[in-house]
Symmetry: C4
Subunit: 354 residues, 4 copies
Amino acid sequence: MEQLLTLDDAERMAEAALPPDAWSYIAGGAGDERTLRWNRDAFSQYRLRPRVLVDVSSVETETTVLGSSVSMPVLVAPMAFQQIAHEEGELATARGAAAAGTLMCVSTVATATPGQIAAAAPEGQHWLQIYVFRDRQVSDGVIEQALEAGYSALVLTADLPVYGIRHREARLGFEAPEHAVPAIVEARSRGGEAGGHHSLGLLESGLEWTYVTELVGRWGVPVLVKGLVTSEDAMLACEHGAAGIVVSNHGGRQLDGAIASLDALPEVVDAVGERAEVYLDGGVRRGADVVMALALGAKAVLVGRPALYGLAINGSKGVAQVLEILREETENALALLGCRSPAEVTRAHVARAT
Amino acid sequence: MEQLLTLDDAERMAEAALPPDAWSYIAGGAGDERTLRWNRDAFSQYRLRPRVLVDVSSVETETTVLGSSVSMPVLVAPMAFQQIAHEEGELATARGAAAAGTLMCVSTVATATPGQIAAAAPEGQHWLQIYVFRDRQVSDGVIEQALEAGYSALVLTADLPVYGIRHREARLGFEAPEHAVPAIVEARSRGGEAGGHHSLGLLESGLEWTYVTELVGRWGVPVLVKGLVTSEDAMLACEHGAAGIVVSNHGGRQLDGAIASLDALPEVVDAVGERAEVYLDGGVRRGADVVMALALGAKAVLVGRPALYGLAINGSKGVAQVLEILREETENALALLGCRSPAEVTRAHVARAT
Amino acid sequence: MEQLLTLDDAERMAEAALPPDAWSYIAGGAGDERTLRWNRDAFSQYRLRPRVLVDVSSVETETTVLGSSVSMPVLVAPMAFQQIAHEEGELATARGAAAAGTLMCVSTVATATPGQIAAAAPEGQHWLQIYVFRDRQVSDGVIEQALEAGYSALVLTADLPVYGIRHREARLGFEAPEHAVPAIVEARSRGGEAGGHHSLGLLESGLEWTYVTELVGRWGVPVLVKGLVTSEDAMLACEHGAAGIVVSNHGGRQLDGAIASLDALPEVVDAVGERAEVYLDGGVRRGADVVMALALGAKAVLVGRPALYGLAINGSKGVAQVLEILREETENALALLGCRSPAEVTRAHVARAT
Amino acid sequence: MEQLLTLDDAERMAEAALPPDAWSYIAGGAGDERTLRWNRDAFSQYRLRPRVLVDVSSVETETTVLGSSVSMPVLVAPMAFQQIAHEEGELATARGAAAAGTLMCVSTVATATPGQIAAAAPEGQHWLQIYVFRDRQVSDGVIEQALEAGYSALVLTADLPVYGIRHREARLGFEAPEHAVPAIVEARSRGGEAGGHHSLGLLESGLEWTYVTELVGRWGVPVLVKGLVTSEDAMLACEHGAAGIVVSNHGGRQLDGAIASLDALPEVVDAVGERAEVYLDGGVRRGADVVMALALGAKAVLVGRPALYGLAINGSKGVAQVLEILREETENALALLGCRSPAEVTRAHVARAT
C-alpha cells in the first residue's frame, strides 16, 4: 500500500479514490490552469535563509489567529460540496481539523448546516465563509445559524462575482450535489433562480465594498475579505473595517492569468501594515511553504485541496493526518530556520531567487 | 466526439480536418518558429491583477474600433487563401464574423473579391488588408472594389517586403490556390511575373512610408499600418497619417527571432499616445489574453489562425463559434478583473512577472 | 564495462553497486529535494570568464587550508556511517584521500574511531566533524581521541539541531548501522536515549554560539563552523572565534527550500573578509565548479557524495580515483582560465548569467 | 531522401553519414557541454527589432573583412583534421567556400598543406589559423607556406594552451589522423614529443601576449586573436596590435562553463571600439543569428561545424550548399529587418529579452 508521508502522496491517493468527475471539480483550475500552477511554482522563486546555533530544543507551532489560539499557522480553507469527497463531508473535515487543533473555515455552500458542522466537532473552532445570495435573507440566515453555533468570524469571498471558466468540470459533466446543500435548497425553495448553468447563478454579482462595512457593523464578529491579490484592494479592505485579509485567487479556479498568491503577498502585507492580519491561500503543500509565507508577512496559511485529499482517503482521520503532516513539517522547518515559534520568522528568513 | 470548448480544441480539430500541406501553411511559422512560440509564451510573462468588490452584474464586451461599434475587442485578422481551409473560404468567414458581431479584415489575396465577401455578409463590417502589387493598378483595383462595397478602412501590411522562410510549407510542397485569387489572376493577366517561386513575387518590395501618406490622401478612409513592432516605426506611422497601428510580426511567419507582439505592445503604445489606435495581433487564444492586451494599451486584438480553425471545422458556424468562445471568455475575464467594459481595463490590471 | 571518466559516471556506478536503502540514504535530500537540485543548478547560473595568452605551462593545484598544504582545493566532506557504502568504510576513505594528497573531514558518527581512521592513513590529514551529544562527555571523548590522533581542526556542524525530513530514507526503511558507530555505542552505553526515531535523537538541539567560543578556548586547534548560508551567521562565526566557515546546507538534506550553497557564498565571503577562511560544500561535481567557487571567494570546496560514490565502487582506490578526476579537471580549468594556481583565481573570472 | 533546407537538416544528415567516433570529435564539446549549448541558446535571449517600409528591393549580403570583399558576413571557421569528415578534406572545404564567395580560415593542423589548399581553390580567399608548436620552426614553416600561397591574415588561437576535457571523444576512442597532418608529421620528424595523449601535446602552452606583437611585426599581414571572451583580453589584443578579434570559446570544446560567445560579444565590441574588427564564432545556425551578431557589433561571423556537416554530406558541394543556405537566410533577414546591407544593421535592431 502506498505510504502517506507527504501531501503529494495524499493527492495521488485521493485521485485514485475518487470518481473522475468529482476529481475534476476538486483538482481543476480555470482556463489553462496557469494560475493554478503558478500558485505552487511561486514557492520555488524564494529561498529560505536559515539561521543556526539558536537553541531550538523547544519549538512551538502554536500561534493565534484573530486572537484565538490554534495548534499551527495552518487553517482549513473553505471548500464547497465536501460530500463529493467523502460521504461525511464537512462533518468529517470539522472533526479532522479539531483533532489537529486548528480552525476550519466552513463554506456557505457546505453539504451540512453550520450548526451540524459545529456540533460534529464541538471542541473545534470555525469561521464562516460567505457567498452572498441575491436573496439576502438566505445569506443572513446562514450567518445567523453560524454565529449561533459559535463561529467566530466571517470570511467574505470577494473573487467570485461570476463563476470561473473551468474546463475539466465541463468536459466530464460534473454536477454539484445541490440537493445536499441546505443554503441552496433554501434559496430555491424561496423561488431563487440560477442565472447560469448551476447554483452559483443564485449568487450576487453586484457586491461592492459597502457590503464589507455592512457585515462589520451588523454581526459583531471580525470580518475577513478573501480573494484579494492587490495592494489597492488590501487598502480598501482596511478602510472598510476588515480585520483580516486572505490573499487568494480562489485556488486558481477563477481568473486564469491572475498573479500567484505568494507573489501578491508582499505587496498586500506592505499595504496593510498593522491594520489587519494577512493570510495566504494557494499552493501550500509543505512546512517549508508555511514558513516562507510567514517570512513574507502572513499570519497563517489556509489549505484547501490537501484537506479534501485527506477527507477522500480516510474521512476525518485523513484530514487530521494531512494537517499533522503539515504541522510536523512546519515544526521541523521552524527549528531548521532557527525559530522557536511562528512569531520569530521574519522577512530576513527569505530571499528572492536571483 | 471531441468537445469544442477552447481555441486549443479548435486547433486540434482543425488539424485533424485538413490535409497536411494546407495545415502546414496555416499553422507554420518562419525559421525555427521561435517568434511563433514567443507570441504565445509572452502572455505567460504577465500577471493579471484583478480588482474585487466591484459591481459587475452588468458587463459589456462591446467596444469601438476607429469609431465603429463591434461586439467585442476581437477582430478577425487578414489571412490569405481561405479556401484552403473550407470551400466557402472568405465568404464563410465573413458570415461567421458578422454573426459574432465583429469586424473582418479581408486579405488582398482572398479567394473571392471584396464585393463578393461583403455581399456574403451584408450586415458585417470589413476592412481591406493591402498587399501592394508591383503593378499598382492591380492594388488600386482591389481598393476601389472594397470601398465600393463599403469597406471602412485600409490596413497596409508593412512586414512582407519579401516572403519569410517557412520550412513547413516547403517540406510538404504547399502551393497556394492562385487560380482562385482574383487579384493574382488579374495581375498575371496583365503580364505580371512572379519574382520568386510563387505569387507573392508579384508584390512590391520597395515600399516606403510615403506610400502611407499616399493612401491616406487618396482614398478618404482611415489607414492602418500592420506589422510594426518598434516605437520608431510607430512614430513614423503617426507622422505619416496612420489612424491605427496593428502591432504584429505576421503571426511569426516572417522574421524568426523578431520580438513577440505582446512584448512590443507597450513601447508602441507609449510612442503613439493618443495619436492613433493600437491593435495587437499574435498569440491571442484566451479571453485572459484579450484583457491582458487591453491592459497594455491595445484598443482591440486580431485573431487569425483561430478563425481559420473554426472555418476548417464548420465553415461560418465554426468561425462564429470560435469568436463566441473568445467573447464569453473576455466577458468572464472582464468581470473577474472588476471591469464592466473594455474601457475600464488599465495598465494597473497587469504586472510583469518577476 | 562502464568507463569512469566523470563524477556523474561514478554516481551511476555507485547506484548500481549499492542496495536501494543505502542508496536512498546517500543520494537523498530533504523534502522535495529542491535544495539538493539547486545546489547543483546554481553552478549553471554563473559564467566563467577565461583569460588567454597567459603562460600556463606550469599549473599547480596545490593550496593551503588553515595553513596546511593539500594537493588541491578539494577536501572530503564529513559523512556519517560510511560502512554502508563499503565494508572498509572510513578507513578506505582515509586511505583514498591520503593517496590523493588531500584532507578528510571525519564524521563524529563514523563507523570507526578517529584513531582507527588516522591509523589507516598515517600520512593523511584529518579534521574532526562534531555533532554534539546531549551527554557532552561522549562528544568530548571523541574530540580527545581525534586530537590525540593528530586531527588538526574541529568542524562544528551547525545545521542539524533536528533531523531533516528525508522521504527516500523513510520509504525504504533505511536504518543507520548504529551498532558500528563507536560514538553512538558509547552514548547508549551511558544510558543515552534517542529523542526521535533514531540515533540522531541523542544529539543536542539546544546549541548556541557560545559553544563555538567554548570549543575555540578549550581544545587549542582551529574551529570551523559548517552549515551557514547567511552573512548574519558568518559574522557571528567570526565574532565567536571561528577560523573557518563551511558554507553548506548539509547537501540539501536538512531544510528543503534553503538557498543553494553557491548562491550563499558571495554574501558570506563579503561578510567575513579576511577574518576567516570560507569553504563551499554542496553541488561540486566538476573542476569548473571548483574554480567557480574559488572565483566567488572560497578557499577550497568539500565534496561528500562523490567520495562515497568512489568508495562504493572500489574502496580506497575508488575514492582516490574520484578525487584525482576532480584534481585533473581543476588543473585543466585553471589552465584554461589563465591561472597558474588556485590563488590566481579572482572574482573577475566569473560573471552572473544574464 | 531527407531535404536539406536548414543547417539543422545538415547536422542530422552528417551524423547519419559519419562513423560515431568521427562524429564524437566533430559534434562534441568539453565537460557537460554546457557552453556548447549556451552558445546556441544565447541567440534566443535576444529579440530582433525589424523596421518596416524601407525600400529593400535590392539587398546585398556582401561585406568586407579586413578590407577584402566577401559574399556574405559569414566565414568558414578553422577546424582541424577535415579528412575525418570527407576524404577530400580541406581541399573540398576550400572549393566550397570559394564557390560560395567567402573566405576560409585554414587550420594549422589541416590534413593538407596551406599550399595544397590554396591550389584547390585558386579563386578563394584564405586566412591561416595558428597553433604554435613548441618547436617554433614548425609553426614558422606553416606560416611561410601559407603566406607564399597568398593567405591574407594570421589567426592566432589563444584558447588552447592545454586541451579541453572532451568525454565524447574519450568514450569512443577517437584518434586524430595525425599521419595525414603535414604539420604534425613535420614536428614528429624533428623529434617533437607529445606532452599528453595526442598530437596537441606538441603545442606550446606558455604563449603570452608578446607573441602577438611578434607575429604582427614579423609577417606583414594582419593578425587576429581568436578565443577571447572578455573585455580585458580584447583591450590587450588591441594594445598588442591585433587587427581583429574572434570572440569564441572554441565551440564549447575547451572550458565548459565559459560564457557563450554571443553573450561576450557586446563587452568585447565596447572595449575595442574602432581599433579592430570583431568577429563572432559559436552557435550560428541561421541567417537571423548572423544579423543578430551584426546588430551586437560583429563585422562577420564564423561557422565551423556547419561547414563540416556540408563537407560530410556532399564534399565541396555540401559546403557550398550550407553556406548558400546561410547567405539566403541572411539576405532574407536583412530585408525583413529593413536593411539593404550588413552595414545598415545597428544595435537598435536588437533588444535583450526581458
